[in-house]
């Protein structure tokens, strides 16, 4: 479904990602794990067109490389950014409506789906986004992304800064979203939890992929254990 070949990306003169090759099949959850500054967010930004890149990114056999960000969303590739990036002066409901900016005809259906997944968003729909707690904002960010009817969902550190309870809620939601037919590319620091729910994973280090395998293989890999799981 998604095929990334020989991807290079960076900021201005600085090259961050070098020669990245990644592929995803429909229905998978694939994790990309790596330490701070490895280039995980940069990878998602390159896929969603927030930053320019060279190499090829194809989604369902169409190239995304030259497309502007809003055209990429149109194709069903939806990116929930690191740090949530909620519209803080808009209500929860308005935030969700912005998520559905391009999918106005599926709004009611999507909204029901989001409220079913995160009932708190229905309760708080009149609250200003900026006044929600971190965990609530994360649910809002995921819900807002779902409003765009994603085929491929790019999630950047959805468990960042969340308590164990909220983390569980978020990981459960990711599984449920995947079960409903959405392919997920998950970037996480929470290596254990994310590899556990993933079909496959990649390890990224200073801008290059250094390891890949099924979720279980990576969890049992001695280097992964040592670097990320403290074992």
């Amino acid at each position: 479904m998604l095929k990334i070949e020989n991807l290079q990306a960076g900021y201005g003169e600085m090259v961050v990602l070098r020669n990245i090759n990644i592929s995803l099949s429909e229905g998978e959850i694939v994790s990309v794990v790596g330490s701070n500054g490895a280039g995980k967010s940069t990878l998602l930004k390159a896929i969603s067109g927030i930053i320019r890149s060279s190499g090829t990114i194809t989604f369902n056999h169409h190239s995304l490389t030259a497309l502007q960000a809003h055209r990429i969303v149109e194709r069903g590739v939806v990116h929930v950014p690191e740090g949530r990036k909620i519209f803080s002066e808009m209500t929860v409901f308005e935030n969700l409506m912005m998520g559905g900016f391009l999918c106005q005809k599926d709004r009611t259906e999507n909204l029901e789906r989001v409220y079913a997944l995160f009932p708190i968003l229905a309760e708080r729909r009149k609250q200003l986004g900026g006044t929600m707690s971190g965990g609530e904002q994360q649910m809002l960010a995921i819900g807002r992304g779902l409003m765009a009817s994603p085929k491929l969902f790019l999630l950047d550190e959805p468990s960042l800064g969340l308590s164990p309870l909220f983390t569980d809620v978020v990981f459960k939601a990711i599984r449920a979203i995947n079960k409903s037919g959405v392919t997920v590319l998950l970037v996480e620091q929470n290596v254990y939890q994310s590899l556990k729910i993933s079909h496959r994973g990649y390890v990224i280090e200073t801008g290059s992929i250094v390891l890949s395998g099924t979720g279980e293989e990576l969890l049992n890999n001695p280097e992964v254990k040592k670097a990320f799981l403290g074992m």
């Binding site: 969603s48 067109g49 927030i50 502007q68 960000a69 809003h70 969303v73 149109e74 939806v78 990116h79 929930v80 950014p81 990036k85 909620i86 519209f87 803080s88 002066e89 808009m90 308005e94 409506m97 912005m98 998520g99 900016f101 391009l102 106005q104 807002r144 992304g145 765009a148």
Partner: protein, 289 residues
């Protein structure tokens, strides 16, 4: 009585300032650009009203039906051709570009229309309504205040309810997230600049019947618009509206109790004071980005 008169005149003339300030604030909010050509766009609006009146014999307030779409289009094109190039650039580049564009506009006006001030005299230019309590309310000021209120209300509803309006607000709150929602932020910038230009030109047209129209007429309004934005908190449309009224009243009070010559000084002092003590604006929460 004197106080009440100054207050009423101040509020009425503040409406137009509010309009100009809202235009600048919207552009700043969506594009994060301070538009130094804003006053010159206002000057173009004055000339548009003047020529609509003298050549086409259209009442300057009626001419707004023409001026608004024309100036929107002009602003939209300006953004598409010039301004978008500096959106991600350092502020000094943006300032230089907008100052440059403003200079081109004012000097073109100087060449085309000479520096002789023009006066647009309508039948009601100097008429006033005198109330029983002794207040004198200038008819053109009152008319322009009513028009301003209507435009502001329409703009408010547009931003609050319409899909494009919400996309504009989203872009101003978080440009990157807006892109991720599938909003074409480049288009939003052009629309914001178009609206900003239309508001500036409208403000210009509205004051045309009560001001001298000349190529540099916009410059004092540039400072006012900045002051209004700073008062209201940069990027806040409601704040800019209130800021405009405040400026109008302060100016009118200064003119009444000190002297007309001092009103610009008072506005400037207000500008610096707010910057010093409340840089996020009187109402602003985020104060720029």
């Amino acid at each position: 009585m004197l106080f009440l008169q100054a207050l009423v005149s101040g509020i009425l003339s503040g409406g137009v300032y509010a309009l100009a300030g809202i235009g600048m604030s919207l552009v700043f909010g969506v594009m994060n650009i301070s538009n130094f050509a804003h006053g010159d766009l206002m000057m173009l609006g004055m000339y548009l009203a003047y020529f609509a009146f003298t050549l086409l014999h259209i009442d300057p307030y009626l001419a707004l039906l023409l001026i608004i779409p024309v100036s929107f289009l002009f602003g939209f094109i300006l953004e598409k051709v010039f301004i978008h190039r500096v959106i991600d650039h350092p502020h000094q580049n943006q300032i230089l570009l907008t100052i440059g564009l403003g200079l081109i506009m004012s000097n073109t006006a100087l060449l085309a229309f000479t520096s002789d001030p023009k006066i647009l005299t309508t039948t009601y230019s100097s008429s006033a309504i005198n109330t029983a309590s002794g207040l004198s309310i200038s008819v053109p000021l009152l008319l322009s205040f009513v028009i301003t209120s209507v435009i502001t209300a329409v703009l408010y509803l547009f931003l609050a309810k319409s899909s494009t309006g919400m996309a504009l607000r989203a872009t101003s709150q978080n440009r990157e997230a807006a892109q991720l929602m599938g909003i074409n932020v480049a288009k939003m910038s052009a629309i914001a600049f178009g609206i900003g230009t239309a508001l500036a030109a409208t403000a210009g047209a509205l004051i045309a019947p009560t001001y001298y129209i000349h190529p540099l007429a916009g410059h004092s309004f540039l400072l006012k618009s900045f002051t209004i934005c700073v008062l209201g908190g940069l990027g806040s449309v409601v704040g800019a509206g209130v800021g405009g009224i405040i400026i109008g009243v302060v100016e009118s009070m200064a003119a009444t109790y000190i002297s007309t010559d001092w009103k610009d000084v008072v506005v400037f002092v207000l500008f610096l004071t707010v910057l010093l003590f409340r840089p996020q604006g009187l109402f602003g929460k985020k104060g720029g980005q």
